[in-house]
Chain length 340, copies 2
Amino acid sequence: MSRTTLKDIALELNISVSTVSKALSDSYEISEATKKTVQEYAKKHNFHPNKLARSLKIGKSNTIGVIVSNISNTFVSQILDGIQIASQQTIYDIIFMQSREDERIEKNCIDVLRMRGIDGLMIAPVSSGSNIEELKELIKARIPVVIFDRINHKLDTFKVGVNNFKGAYDATQHLIQQGKRNILHITGKNLGVAEERLNGFKAALSDANIPFDEKHYIECGFNSTVDLDSRIKEIIIKEFIDHKNIDAIFGATDVITTRTLGILAELQIEVPTEVAVIGFSNTQIAASLNPALSTVVQPATEIGEIATKKLIDTINQTRPIHEFETIELPTQLIVRKSSL
Amino acid sequence: MSRTTLKDIALELNISVSTVSKALSDSYEISEATKKTVQEYAKKHNFHPNKLARSLKIGKSNTIGVIVSNISNTFVSQILDGIQIASQQTIYDIIFMQSREDERIEKNCIDVLRMRGIDGLMIAPVSSGSNIEELKELIKARIPVVIFDRINHKLDTFKVGVNNFKGAYDATQHLIQQGKRNILHITGKNLGVAEERLNGFKAALSDANIPFDEKHYIECGFNSTVDLDSRIKEIIIKEFIDHKNIDAIFGATDVITTRTLGILAELQIEVPTEVAVIGFSNTQIAASLNPALSTVVQPATEIGEIATKKLIDTINQTRPIHEFETIELPTQLIVRKSSL
DNA sequence: TTGTACGCGTTATCAA
DNA sequence: TTGATAACGCGTACAA
């Protein structure tokens, strides 16, 4: 048995295909009687209209494409949750794809989604300039694009993310208020948001008249977890154990912060008595950690929801938009035991 | 500017649409010269064939639908990773949807995916009988279905998951070997895999001649995290603090296990000296926890990969399959500090 | 109120 | 080697 079509119903009921089509969409042209017959038949035989054919016909797919780096990242999956929530009550379905931090894969994702006839795209781009031509083309083809999270991307369009400067500033200031003066900032290489977070870190130091020490700013590659681990370990051993000149660590990302905690435990360095720790992190188990981890939390769900709403608004706009808005949501500093 | 079509190219190059189509698919019927002209023109003008039209025509969408309960769950997102990896090198694209543990939403997901013309479906069902009629219909319509993770579902089809009995048995046995005899098993309500895990737990106790105490088996509702937390806390206070008759806890899921750790920290109960902890958990930061958490790890990525391969195989099978296989992968017991 | 005819963009068959 | 034509399933202007 293959799938039921309008034609099948028409044949069975001895009426025309268009009558069936109209009856199912509750058209005013059709009599209540036939509507009822058709709709009941459809329900009984579990008729599902073919979206492909429908989209092809009306030139809209009611689909939104989403490209993220990696689904298996707490922060990202929380954003996806928000996207799902916002799209739930709309006519739009969501298709997710992963770029895996690779511009070529990202290009492929864009192509695939485009071929699928998405009505709009939401993307957290790999880098600040990645696939900018492709994205421009989408917009030219009147497929709106919203950029989220990595809002330093150069494309001129709607953007939704957080105020990374302030988030980093607040975290650093908190450590300073706890009497820490030798703070190590660990961040990632080629991380779009890193620069603003570094700026916030520096600004907080500067405002407290603490000189910025180059040695207390470390960039880690992200090639593999092993690399990341050994790199972090190396620097902690050097700066904390050998030179004894660190009293706090500020991690720039979810992964860095949690890995750091693990390494400190492994090296039997007591948190927060020997070293205080705080970092950007959206892991739900921050409170379950021992010691409970102080974090800069990004409003992930909200980012997803706002981005989705913005995109849908833009899709439904009849005339092209030329004035774009960048929304920077505030982060939230949650102080727990690891930095007290 | 709207999107380019075969027609546009044909018009521009003064050849027929079918010639363009054949040239682009590198047909042997077309001369090298025209092929070259067409392909170059297509590349230059960034032509993307319309997949909707293509799928409609050939009756295959080269799309696989995936339904999971909740993307923002470590274990689930690891499975999705595996699915992505396995599909990467194939012609198939993946569409994810979330059921949020709700059978009606799950039904809606199935309908949407079906309307989208998926060639196959992978699903971790909400419950053991959820939407069984819908799924049967899919199979009747020759759209293969593979069930993963929640392999206790009653539908007769391919299933890929883990051996929950053995995973639970191993964890419990390990605790017993550490000299623990009063083990609390915390599990979830309406959790498909709970029963097998409970059986494994009981079997290990029985094999060590330890009687099973009803009071040491707790089911938690999953309505909200707050409920879960307070329920776990309540039972720990009663059994550990008041009656002092627990020396170990075995958590049945990722969420339960990590929440338990948090609550123990909050109550200032020392792990593992006062209470040993082990549990099913796929969180990547188990090693980063303090104390490092002993876990029963499920081969999530592998589950995703195998399920995907099985599904694609089935899709490409010309004749319907009537003998289905259930693959139960082994779990891995990783002993860390929390249970030593 | 219902039916006919056409087109969305593609592929496949067959004729030129 | 190329092109005309039909068809996939649906929606809609127009005719009946």
